[in-house]
Subunit: 310 residues, 2 copies
């Protein structure tokens, strides 16, 4: 009776990049590597392990090369990194990752705020990145930031988002991520945009990256799945935040997403108990509590002893 999507989904862990990048502390490389290795062991389909950006701008991820070199590569897990330009692509290429991800915002204002260039400049950079990657075997993918709205400009025209996707594919991207960068999406909008993209490109590996900023993160994941999306970004423990709302959450929480799908009988390939165990060490890793719910409440069938007399 529920509009049903596929019976198997693929979960992409972004906490090592999207979570750590806003943390004020530098997590030591040894601990990052051990943490990513444990994440690999849970069976995640993809892990975004770092970004190759200026260490001056994101000191928390200044050890990208070393992390990429030292992590154990589990067959069945893809390892990717975010890069902004050709320089980042060169670093990524030397690190032998499976794929790199270039973020370009639909909103010009957001792109300038995020990357100090117009989207046109980012598309030029994408072309240079493609040249760097030629012959390396590293896949070129791109995230469509502010696909569901920009915190400065507001909603983006649906046609503009769809044109942006067309252009990414024309520029050689082999996979695309629709990103709800600051949690402005609603389920109807998610289903509509996912369906529109998949109607044009049924075989495109499309990923949905949603934030839980307004509490509807898992509802948006559900709507995306119903519309045909089978790939979802998420961050362990819901690590990460919203730059415009102190106290608000960022990425949807990986173990909450995995729990929802597994409870629905949808396979994720992830060992949820192991994932929860890794998540419960997060406060020790980053020095503060994180917003994920399943790590606090346990799985639904982690039963409790009945009170005396009941």
């Amino acid at each position: 009776m529920i509009s049903a999507g596929a019976e198997r989904v693929f979960i992409h862990e972004v906490a090592p990049r999207d979570g750590l990048q806003i943390e004020p502390v530098f997590v030591p490389t040894d601990r990052k590597v051990a943490w990513i290795d444990r994440l690999s062991d849970t069976g995640l389909a993809k892990i975004e392990i770092t970004s190759f950006v200026s260490p001056k701008h994101v000191p928390a991820l200044s050890d990208g090369e070393e992390v990429a070199r030292r992590i154990r590569r589990r067959p069945g897990t893809l390892y990717c990194a975010l890069i902004p330009n050709a320089r980042g692509a060169e670093r990524a290429a030397q690190s032998g990752l499976d794929e790199i991800n270039v973020v370009i915002s639909v909103s010009a204002t957001h792109n300038r705020a995020n990357l100090r260039m117009d989207p046109e400049g980012s598309f030029r950079a994408l072309r240079e990145v493609r040249q760097v990657l030629a012959g390396t075997g590293i896949a070129l993918t791109s995230s469509v930031a502010t696909a569901f709205g920009c915190p400065f400009e507001g909603r983006q025209e649906r046609a503009k988002v769809l044109d942006h996707v067309e252009r990414l594919l024309a520029e050689g991207c082999t996979a695309v991520t629709l990103a709800d960068t600051t949690g402005m999406a609603n389920p109807r909008q998610v289903a509509d945009l996912v369906a529109a993209v998949l109607a044009r490109h049924p075989a495109l590996p499309l990923t949905l990256h949603v934030h839980n900023t307004r509490g509807a993160g898992l509802a948006n994941v559900l709507a995306g799945w119903q519309a045909g999306c089978v790939r979802f970004d998420a961050a362990l423990g819901g690590l990460g935040g919203c730059p415009f709302a102190p106290g608000a959450t960022g990425n949807v929480c990986t173990e909450d997403v995995v729990n929802m799908f597994e409870e629905m009988g949808i396979g994720t390939g992830v060992d949820l108990d192991s994932l929860i165990a890794v998540s419960r060490e997060l406060p020790d890793l980053v020095g503060h509590d994180v917003p994920g719910q399943v790590r606090a409440a346990g799985r639904p069938l982690d039963l409790h002893p009945a009170p005396p007399g009941a």
Copy 2:
């Protein structure tokens, strides 16, 4: 492209009862009354204002009669209270509420833990309550606790839940609430049970009461709506908790639910800005922070100034 439900939903605010009942502090009656009056002004379809239970067991709600007498009754809002037995019904009848709600768990263990009697005892109490209410014009409704699982027994048989609903209707209940008492539900299960109940009783005023204990609260609301439910319980700010998981959230957050529906273009009849304003005073009312997201992040189109140069 999304499985679509009705274009109008009805939001029931339960924070004055389900939220306050677990608070260690007694919110002064004056403040409760002023708070409920402000909630009424937002246009909520129903407000559960208190419970008429033993003041010894729930001291936070020991002022139920006074609250019921002093609140302003806004036409268009129904005022209800939770009661456990005939004694509670007498108190409610004297308070002139629109309806009362009797909670009975599907799970015998949970019913004993919650009410110190078997479900059979609760059904006997329901019959006595019905007699007390006869001729008063007060509607008798019932919540099906642990409808999606019991924290002690685990999942409940679907047939058992459906039989429980049949019995409530046979006993004279005019409306029924399916309650995910400790947040064990998943969207597929919610859609299935809602659809099954509505297939048998298309005209039944069915309410869905879900908790956000595992982060899937709004996904479950969405699934319930897609399956035909148009009435949803929620608690302002996500007030309330889970007795089995310190730090885990309880009820879905009213303003997050309203925001999701309004963003989807589904009418709620609620003035969301007013609701957020009331929610932002909650920490002062209860003395601690609450988990709602929209109150922290603002509405999606509450735009931010672009940084210099962007």
